[in-house]
Amino acid sequence: MSDIPRVGVVTFPGSLDDRDALHAIDAMGGEGVALWHAEHDLRGVDAVVLPGGFSYGDYLRCGAIAARAPLMATIRAFADRGAPVLGICNGFQILCEAGLLPGALIRNESLRFVCDNVWLRVETSQTCVTAGLVPGETIEVPIKHGEGQWVATPEQLERVEGDGLVVFRYAGPDGGLDDAFNPNGATNHIAGVRNVAGNVVGLMPHPEHAVDPDVGPTGGQSLFASLFEAALAGASA
């Protein structure tokens, strides 16, 4: 068994941060594996990242067409087995459209695209990307999206909050919640959620753009470190 996790990154037509995610995985000591939407093969990877971008130009609804790609059926089965799946930005939108995560992403409250660094408060350690983090801890990560306002039906929201499915909230550097820190009007400041098992996580911010101090903040490092642990644990199980 290798101790280098193999993490697949899916390229859909219109994916933009696929190369960036592969680069971040390699920079963090993993092995990034490029995957193609139209295939069925996950090439034996230990974890999957659905990257940011504008798959299919965001036409119809963000992520709606990509959620029906051939590879997504394979990824669904992969997730059902408990393997780690991380959706970033458009990847989060795809996971919601695929029904693998609760809620939906709609246009930012400002109706404008926003690119900025934000602080996230970690809400749970019970996921494949936050196992190495402590609830209440904050990390700095960039966002860049036009449709990142997470919303849910009242029943969904009750379940998400009640079952502790919120993984990240937009917050101040010290973890305080305030509308001023909420860049898109997301319900309850929610930036990322998980499934019940915690192996599927989606978030609007971009941890892959937060691993290299030369070009940005470093809040994404710990997420990838946790993802690698989960990937290796799954691989050896």
């Binding site: 037509p13 933009l16 299919y56 900025d116 860049k144 753009h209």
Partner: protein, 731 residues
């Protein structure tokens, strides 16, 4: 009686005569349409060519000069930077979102047709005052269009200045610059690939529709008059998703060695791509319009030939590689059509439904267009009063507040927060920096770019205005520690048929020529945008310069803001009594008169050498261009950046307001750690640049002698809230 067809298409009588002579007969409808777009001002540079020829284009680092889709510069280790700037002002004035969006799409295709991956976009923009509702509509629409397109294709938007002036109320200027990276030996140029007789011309990408017909001739090569909204159908509609697929497919086609040529379809559509590709190959082509994928069944040949539908490329493909090309495009979801075959001779023979609808020499479209030496007349200059001579007894703190709130100076964060600045993961410094910095993958090199135009200086003196644009862009690159290498440009002017506009153009070219020669930064290409006027109001003559520089190690990039307290602050260079065309003169005195500051290229060069040397020896902690707004504004911006104040005293014989707000060239505000001061002063001596230690960084306030003492937080508030406030947002 109505005008003959050729005039309706924008051709002049003498141009029509020329076509008749070339063909030996009257051109038919389709042929006229082709000549009208190819010989339009926008495509043929017929009014500007004679002047552009005088620009310096040679340099050790220049790999590809003017005349191709984009210029290319050698940055060592086999790496090449490809860059180009263009305007999309006319479409944007009519439909701001799509006009700006398709401008981004067009310049990106110029870069990919050189075989380079687009790695950065910059958008120099000029609008009328935001107090006018229509200007706000144009401003918000253009920004949304740039973001809507650029964010969706995975190319970071990392810079581009934004200026405001009344003359842009009816004539917004929307320029866009793209930077690409390639291996020098993989560049796609006329020299690097050899097409064969019998090879196919393959159109790939989007289908051809009725959008953008006559865009270059009707829209871009005439002034916008009343009722211009009726030309909205001449504005193209962008599909950034298709563009992203084009980028990936094109680069893969080149990487796999499947092409004998590649050309983007932009202005003048298929006519341009066919004629340029064939002429470049020294061949002709048999063209079949019936196989062009159309959005509407019943399009006429002239419509198919001149449509400017976006997101299309034309590849030249050897028959043996056609199958592989088609398979690759299909994998990316792109349609292909073999629309032509290269043949001996030089004739484009174009068929539609079994008939030859056009038969013209390819070269006559690309090379035989008219060239005008248009009359030039120096206009009368207005009141030459030098604002530096009039006494000023106002409050200097209030003056600083007013200049910081001036929209051209104020923070543009409202704009660039809407741009994806970080995709591709190589953005070392974005729009907040004087020069934006992109690192070159798998190396330590940093490519530094800045775009600058000096419209107000140009109004007072177009020669000096152009010189200042070159010098300021070089300085903006040099303050990061990078050596300026070469420029591209976009030349924004009024109607060239008016002798005074042509005089402004000729003077601007002369200024650009002298400055580029003096600073050793050759011109690698550019774009001319004429007819930026409506009624009697033309824009200020505004050549926008896109400067490219190189940092040997991006980690040594010098930031512009004071990073902490206790640093020695130096004013580098000399300040003279030069308020003509300054922000102070406009925002505080309300007048733009006199002459722009002088520019001594030897001094500018010395400053650049000092900044590059000091950065390389890591003795600079921060460095910021001291130009727009003068030293008071430069200091305020250094403080606002990270919230570290300063206390300085500026020794001078000048009146205080002149010393603080003069926009003398060849200056910078730098901060230096106390331990490095001796080394810094030594370097300044070596380069013969006068430097003055004016004070230290630190504390919460901005203090200049007894004149100014204001909390940095207050200055920050004024500077950052100005544009949102003008847009009516709660701040």
């Amino acid at each position: 009686m109505s005008d003959p067809l050729y005039r309706q298409l924008g051709l002049q009588d003498d141009e029509h005569e020329r076509i008749v002579t070339t063909l030996g007969r009257e051109p038919n409808r389709a042929e006229l349409a082709m000549y009208s777009v190819m010989w339009s001002e926008h495509c043929s540079y017929k009014s500007s060519k004679i002047h552009l020829k005088t620009l310096p284009t040679e340099g050790a680092a220049v790999l590809v000069g003017p005349g191709q889709d984009a210029g290319a510069v050698d940055i060592g280790d086999g790496d090449a930077v490809v860059f180009k700037m263009e305007s999309h002002s006319h479409p944007s004035a009519i439909e701001p979102y799509q006009g700006a969006a398709t401008g981004v799409g067009g310049i990106v295709r110029d870069i990919i047709s050189m075989g380079a991956r687009p790695v950065a976009l910059l958008d120099p923009l000029m609008f009328g005052p935001l107090t006018e509702p229509r200007n706000r509509w144009l401003f918000e629409g253009v920004i949304a269009g740039i973001g809507g397109y650029g964010n969706c294709i995975g190319v970071p938007t990392i810079g581009g200045e934004i200026r405001f002036a009344e003359a842009h109320s009816s004539n917004p200027c929307v320029n866009v610059m793209c930077v690409g990276l390639a291996k020098a030996d993989e560049l796609v140029t006329a020299q690097s690939l050899t097409p064969h007789v019998g090879s196919f011309m393959v159109l790939f990408g989007a289908a051809t529709g009725r959008d953008g017909i006559g865009g270059v001739s009707v829209l871009a090569s005439a002034t916008l008059e009343e009722g211009a909204d009726a030309s909205r159908p001449s504005v193209q509609i962008g599909d950034p998703f298709a563009e992203k697929l084009l980028i990936e497919a094109s680069l893969e086609l080149i990487r796999e060695g499947l092409l004998e040529g590649l050309q983007d379809l932009g202005g003048a559509g298929i006519s341009c791509a066919l004629s340029e590709s064939a002429a470049r190959a020294g061949m002709g082509a048999d063209v079949d319009l019936d196989v062009v994928p159309l959005r509407e069944e019943d399009m006429e040949p002239f419509e198919i030939l001149t449509s400017e539908s976006q997101e299309r490329m034309l590849a030249i493909v050897h028959p043996a590689k056609l199958e592989a090309v088609q398979a690759l495009c299909t994998r990316w979801g792109l349609r292909t059509a073999v629309i032509a075959t290269l043949v001996e001779g030089g004739t484009l023979a174009i068929r539609h439904r079994g008939e030859v609808v056009a038969e013209v020499p390819a070269r006559s479209l690309t090379d035989d267009g008219p060239e005008y030496d248009r009359p030039i007349a120096e206009p009368e200059r207005g009141d030459g009063a030098d604002p530096a001579l009039s006494p000023f007894d106002g409050d200097l703190g209030e003056a600083l507040r007013a200049v910081l709130a001036a929209p051209s100076i104020a923070s543009k964060a409202w704009v660039w927060r809407q741009y994806d600045r970080i995709v591709q993961g190589n953005t070392v410094a974005g729009p907040e920096s004087d020069g934006a910095v992109i690192r070159v993958p798998n190396s330590l090199k940093g490519v530094v770019v800045s775009s600058d135009g000096k419209g107000r200086f140009g109004r007072l003196d177009p020669y000096l205005g152009a010189m200042h644009a070159v010098a300021e862009s070089a300085r903006n690159v040099a303050v990061t520690g990078a050596r300026p290498l070469a420029i591209t440009n976009c030349l924004n002017f009024g109607n060239p048929e008016r002798p005074e506009v042509m005089w402004q153009f000729a003077e601007s070219i002369r200024g650009m020529r002298d400055a580029c020669a003096g600073l050793g930064t050759p011109v690698t290409g550019g774009n001319v945008s004429f007819y930026n006027e409506s009624g009697d109001s033309a824009i200020d003559p505004t050549p926008v310069i896109g400067m490219l520089g190189l940092l040997p190690d991006y980690r040594l990039c010098v930031p512009s803001a004071f990073p902490g307290p206790g640093l020695a602050i130096y004013l580098v260079g000399e300040t003279a009594a030069e308020l003509g065309g300054s922000e102070f003169a406009e925002a505080v005195l309300g007048s733009v008169t006199g002459m722009p500051p002088a520019l001594d290229l030897a001094k500018e060069r010395a400053l650049i050498e000092l900044l590059v040397a000091a950065a390389a020896e890591t003795v600079l902690v921060s460095a910021h261009d001291c130009g727009d707004g003068g030293v008071a504004v430069a200091l305020a911006e250094c403080a606002i950046g990270l919230g570290h104040g300063f206390a300085v005293s500026i020794p001078t014989d000048l009146p205080a307001h002149v010393a603080l707000f003069s926009e003398s060239a060849s200056r910078a505000v730098v901060s230096v750690a106390p331990l490095d001061e001796e080394a810094f002063r030594g370097l300044a001596d070596v380069h013969a640049v006068p430097v003055t230690r004016i004070g230290e960084s630190g504390g919460p306030r901005a203090v200049i002698d007894a004149a100014i003492d204001i909390p940095v937080s207050e200055l920050e508030g004024i500077w950052s809230s100005s544009i949102p406030r003008l847009l009516g947002e709660a701040v």
